[in-house]
């Protein structure tokens, strides 16, 4: 990571953070925030597909209500793996980005999940849902636009 080469060895990294210095390229925390949104969305869609594929196969209402039978589906395991990868990318994001910026930006999943369910799972989209998606995207733009300008200025 070349930011370390530029900074004096014992400089407090939070100071470099305040100047907007963070890893570039693939390790850019804002790129990782987008990756996190995609992983969380993929996880939810995979879990839903797996849960639908295994609805009540055991015949025992007890096992069905625990959801354990869904573990027989490869989709569910892919969903779990995607969820764990999402947590790792989230921890990396929190290392660099203030929580009050990162958490609201992570709400992009409330846009991606309905769109994904519509596109991949064939769920319906109402006008109200499109309105909600537009509002969330406007909010994200309010938060992200100043950040992108700061990135460009560096």
């Amino acid at each position: 990571m070349n930011y370390e080469a530029n900074a004096p060895k014992d400089t407090d990294r939070s100071e470099t953070l305040a100047r907007g210095v963070h890893p570039k390229g693939l390790l850019n925390p804002y790129l990782q925030l987008a990756v996190n949104g995609l992983l969380v969305t993929a996880s939810e869609l995979l879990l839903k597909r797996g849960a639908t594929a295994t609805t009540q196969v055991s015949g025992s209402p007890w096992l069905d209500s625990l959801g354990i039978t869904t573990l027989g589906s490869g989709w569910v395991w892919a969903g779990i793996a995607s969820g764990i990868a999402g947590l790792v990318s989230w921890l990396y994001v929190l290392r660099w980005v203030p929580l009050s910026i990162a958490f609201p930006l992570a709400s992009v999943v409330h846009v991606l999940i309905p769109l994904g369910s519509w596109f991949f799972l064939g769920e319906t989209m109402s006008l109200l849902r499109w309105c909600g998606i537009t509002l969330v995207m406007t909010g994200i733009w309010c938060l992200a636009n100043p950040l992108m300008r700061a990135e460009e200025a560096l």
Binding site: S100, H110, P114
Partner: protein
């Protein structure tokens, strides 16, 4: 909605906010050249435990209410989290960011009830 459900909603939001604050606080140490490894692990694990509790309280709510009834509270969480990060972690935001958080919360509620 009964008092019992309202308390469960409140508890679930507290778990979520506390969990995220712990994760952020723990991971913030790793910005320093000498990160106290033990503390990072402890705080991140405590955060994950809180988020696990949040997950189960969320599932308990879903058992008793429709998704469209529970979702407005999901919209509340970015607002609560920004307030908590400001008060407890001392983070600061511009007015524009606060407007953005409000729009996101409102949009989330709309997506939820639709």
């Amino acid at each position: 909605m009964t008092i019992h459900l309202l308390l469960l909603v409140l508890l679930s939001q507290i778990f979520l906010v506390a969990g995220q604050l712990l994760l952020k606080h723990g991971m913030s140490y790793t910005q320093h050249a000498t990160a106290p490894f033990g503390r990072v692990v402890c705080e991140v694990l405590a955060g994950v435990c809180m988020l696990t509790l949040w997950f189960f309280s969320w599932m308990a709510l879903l058992q008793q209410l429709d998704l469209s009834q529970v979702y407005p509270f999901e919209g509340m969480s970015p607002v609560l989290l920004v307030i908590a990060a400001t008060v407890i972690l001392g983070e600061r935001q511009s007015r524009r960011s606060r407007v953005g958080v409000g729009l996101i919360a409102l949009g989330t509620v709309l997506v939820g009830i639709s």
